[in-house]
Amino acid sequence: MYSQNRKAKNTISLLLTYAFLILFGIFMIYPLLWVVSAAFKSNDEIFKSLSLIPQKIVTNAFIKGWYGTGQYTFGRFFINNFILVVPVVFFTITSSTLVAYGFARFNFPLKKLFFVILISTLMLPDSVNLIPRYILFNAFGWVDSYKPFIIPSMFASTPFFVFMMIQFMRGLPREIEEAAIIDGCNSFQILLRVTGPLCKTAMISMGIFQFIWTWNDFLGPLIYINSVEKYTIALGLRMCVDSAAAIAWNQIMAMTVIAMLPCIIIFFAAQKYFVEGIATSGIKG
């Protein structure tokens, strides 16, 4: 009798849990689905119904939106984003791995102090450096180019990634590396052939995060990029919204979808790295 009662109670609480998860889940995902469906709706329909299924599927928003405000198409902004993001991701992975290797596997003077500095910069707000960095890069002649993004990434400029990589390397067994030393490998060969390959998961999740952050970055390009020809997607979108002022919402929605697409593809393709990366490092949000 007692156990039956308990069983019924459990079933009810299970049902309630699922009900909550589903309702809350709809609430979380609806805005994202809505923007996708809005991109396929006619302009009149967008605000008329809550339905996610368009009454009539319209695809010309993508074509018209792509041509944007005239001078440059979204194709240009899209390519620009890749020209900016790909080197940043590549250099972030290589430089952060090198530095982490140094911290994780070697002893050198001031190592403790350097590590403390690394950890404290983790919490240093970016905005305090914003202005002098702009003045500095302006003096270097880097403004209106992608150099303010790419060059710092060569110097392991995101402490999060270095820290995450150090933690990951510390968890790796040293025996294989020691075997490689006996075989006559120098430390760089070990990194290249032994330690590096073992860090593949961490490197991939680092790359994914850097890709998504840089892809979505707005303030950076807003400050450093002036000519429309070099605009990133974020700047192109902003320009569209500002100039279109309540005319072609479905076009803006279509371009919003386009802007989000690479991140969504990466997210679903690499979900496992995502959770792993975020769990080992505690990355922002």
Binding site: T17, R133, I135, L136, F274, I283
Partner: protein
């Protein structure tokens, strides 16, 4: 022996060198210079001119936007951080249960967070919360008359903050990772002792996740104080400056009016406020964080 050790030291330093150079050039130098500039009048056309405390005096006595931006920013932080973290924890606890299909829910709850403070998401928010937008349309189904979410100066800051709350996914994943590490024996023992669920939460779960709670609090507070893209795209700081944040004031002064010295002074005030808040969290954390092996993250 010592010679080879020295060589090895040098090699290690060589690997760390890129970071060291990057730190000196892109972090330490700007950090020092921003303090220097904050005591200067500098438009970038002429060399900086030392003006002493003028920027700070101006900020606190003449700039009408500064107190407004400061107040709005504090409001934004106080709304978003606690809500975001409570949602993250609440959902993480539910997602920690062994239910079928739980991975799907994890994905769904995390998905909004991958876009962070992107323009795309901000545009979406603007459309959702417009007067004729989808949120009001939804409310009208229940016979609730639409609210001017973004046009009412009293409400706009909440509508904007809500975007950050919606993106609680990263904090949630961190909680989830920690919850998984709590040994189930602890709960079993408590169950034998006849502890209630609430008591188990307070006496086992909360202490065990407290280091992550601390980490989330610090990082989310730092991020919220610097929020820019969302409010900038959604409301542009309006209506009547009700969503105008410190970061926008810094941006406008620096890159619209080219008052670099004043903007640097503002960013230092922002920095000091963040420092005070984080110091407070650090200080208080000794009373409420619990470390199993007595070695925390920091």
């Amino acid at each position: 022996m010592t010679a080879s050790l020295k060589r090895k030291d040098l090699v290690g330093l060589l690997y760390v060198l890129p970071w060291l150079i990057g730190f000196l050039v892109f972090k330490l130098y700007p950090f020092v210079m921003s303090l220097v500039y904050s005591f200067c009048d500098y438009s970038m056309l002429k060399p900086p001119r030392f003006v002493g405390l003028y920027n700070f005096i101006y900020m606190f006595t003449k700039d009408e936007l500064f107190p407004k931006a400061l107040f709005n920013t504090l409001k934004y932080v106080i709304i978003t951080v606690p809500l975001k973290i409570s949602f993250a924890l609440f959902v993480a606890i539910i997602l920690n249960m062994k239910l079928s299909g739980i991975n799907l829910f994890r994905t769904v709850y995390y998905l909004p967070s991958i876009f962070g403070g992107s323009v795309a998401i901000s545009i979406l928010w603007r459309f959702l919360f417009m007067k004729e937008g989808i949120v009001n349309k939804f409310l009208s189904l229940f016979g609730i008359e639409g609210i001017n979410w973004l046009g009412d100066p009293k409400i706009a800051i909440f509508s904007v903050s809500f975007l950050a709350v919606w993106q609680f996914g990263s904090s949630m994943v961190l909680f989830l990772a920690r919850l998984k590490e709590i040994p189930s024996e602890l709960y079993e023992a408590a169950l034998v002792d006849g502890a209630s669920r609430l008591k188990m939460f307070a006496k086992i779960t909360l202490p065990m996740i407290s280091p992550i709670m601390f980490f989330n609090l610090v990082m989310q507070t730092i991020n919220a104080f610097q929020e820019f893209t969302g409010p900038y795209i959604i409301t542009g700081g309006g209506p009547v400056n009700s969503t105008y944040l410190l970061s926008m004031l810094i941006y406008d002064n620096a890159f619209k009016y080219f008052r670099m010295g004043y903007a640097a002074a503002l960013s230092w005030v922002q920095f000091v406020i963040i420092l005070i808040f984080t110091a407070f969290i650090f200080r208080s954390s000794t009373y409420w964080t619990y470390y199993e092996y007595d070695e925390g993250r920091f």
